[in-house]
Subunit: 365 residues, 2 copies
Amino acid sequence: MQLKLMHSVRHHHLFEFCKLVFLKKSFKINEAELAAKVLISSDLRGIDSHGVARLSGYLRLINEGRVNPKPNIKIKKEMLSTCTLDGDAGLGLVVGPKAMEIAIEKAKITGSGQVSVMNSNHFGIAAYHALLATEQNLIGCSMTNASPLVAPTFGKEAMLGTNPICYAFPSKNEPIVVDMATSAAANGKLQIAQRSDKEIPSGWAQDSHGNDSKNPHILKDNGQLLPLGSSRNLGSHKGYGLAASVDIFSGVLSGANFGPWVPPFVSFKEPLKNPPGKGIGHFFGAFSIQGFCEEKDYFSNIDLWTKRFKQTKAINPENPVLIPGEPEHKTFQKRSIEGIPLNQKVLEDLLNIADQSNISAKDFF
Amino acid sequence: MQLKLMHSVRHHHLFEFCKLVFLKKSFKINEAELAAKVLISSDLRGIDSHGVARLSGYLRLINEGRVNPKPNIKIKKEMLSTCTLDGDAGLGLVVGPKAMEIAIEKAKITGSGQVSVMNSNHFGIAAYHALLATEQNLIGCSMTNASPLVAPTFGKEAMLGTNPICYAFPSKNEPIVVDMATSAAANGKLQIAQRSDKEIPSGWAQDSHGNDSKNPHILKDNGQLLPLGSSRNLGSHKGYGLAASVDIFSGVLSGANFGPWVPPFVSFKEPLKNPPGKGIGHFFGAFSIQGFCEEKDYFSNIDLWTKRFKQTKAINPENPVLIPGEPEHKTFQKRSIEGIPLNQKVLEDLLNIADQSNISAKDFF
């Protein structure tokens, strides 16, 4: 098989490949499908950093026993509209969607459902989970804490993850999706700059002394990412506050780890000894439209909202104001038809995985 | 009475004064007390822009019939853990706490309560409402849309308010409170710069063409505030996405106005004709700790969280990392004892109000 710089693969081929890989790691069939689906959804939406590019990382965590391929996921504490789930060290790609389904069921019964999760692992893109709600005409919310990379305002120590928040709102057409790291830039953006050794903008990261840094490799030198807002003057305490809120909802409330104790995603970094909780934590919310208003009123309002925001006077008419989630939705439509482009590094990674798993790569790529 | 540059007034005197003013505007007694309490809480926390400095603005809206002093607040739509409240054009200072009380009641029964509000007005500081939950050991969340001042990323038109979000987490000691406008800077910060004609930092506002502006008066010249993140490079699309989410939860879902239709707070600006909804909108959430975990586990975790974050390595040891809400809590403690300092402009405003309301100012100040 000849490697090209960008090799395009049909999404259902990539799905079948990932599913088979997870099956070989002794996942149950429906959980292998779920994990594969979450990964591919990220590539389809153009969030390449969170898709199949991470498969090898997940496998390393499974191989080292830090991820349980056959988790016994169960409810730890529950009330009518809430609960906490124990993910039993399963992959967040599997635990997350199950938690969201419970939130949705609770929302159908009581109007809203709020589920915190402990003892989980990386859950892929936040949007996948929140979009499970919009598929059934509910509003969805998802967040997760993550291993520490971000310094609080005035600090020079990584205390918080990039702790993303996603809100997804259903609409007659495409949903409105806000899916954002609470840091100024996601770590994936730094990784892209690292590959080409390109300077990063001022305001993304600082060095170990707390000075602004344009070095894309600065995190390896004890630097940290900056919270959304970048500097105190421009509101970095707000990004810090948001990341802290995500950490408390996901970690403190659920019994997962929080702050600097959240275990690292990369297998070459060891988790801290004697952590206060188990695994990483997530938080999910589902809101039934009917718990608040008539569905027809909501859908006509959200339609008007979208139309009016698309008409916002643009600074440059060739660069119009976008509806949150619009670029990802366009990429999703394009890649659903044209396939998912894989860069050479990711393709080599997948071929290695195929080799190690005794899977015939040419059946898929 | 001689005017000093900073005149300090005991908070309960200020409370009694505001209460009497609202009573003279034919508020019911418990609602006059509530409105006064919300205002004073803002001054006590050091958020001077949202306290008694706004009293004259509220009164003008009442005088012009845009705020109903005797609202008949009622539930419009309800499920077990959710509802929408119709504020009947009442003051948000009155409608907000009532909505939060309902969210708390629902959380006690089902684990969480989520309440959207339509047909309301300005609700003061977001933190007041969220803190009602922490007083009863619940997590509180509050948000509101507001009249348009902020341009979406790539836009040069005010489409969103500064749409604040507050999360308040109970703790054995002081609660952790994240209370933030979703713009890079709150409008109050521009107003302070306007008084002294001082340049504002780059990244707070833009002129009518979408160019960054340091002119503190630029909003009067068709300029706009920038979303948190300030520029596309530093994540302004995230601030825009957050403000949009607040707008949809508060306005679209409740049946209030949204986007550019949210009515202005200042009485000299007319609301737009034929708006899609009624008044402004809020959204409140309450989360019972017991819906997720044992209270003792939560309180020991949040204590550890706070201690560990206070120990974050600081860039400058004289400027330590703060816990969200810590500065406001310190101001609250100080002003509770020493009184609330009023600047000359605000004091003159209050004396005018006293005159017009036939209240003897010297009984209070």
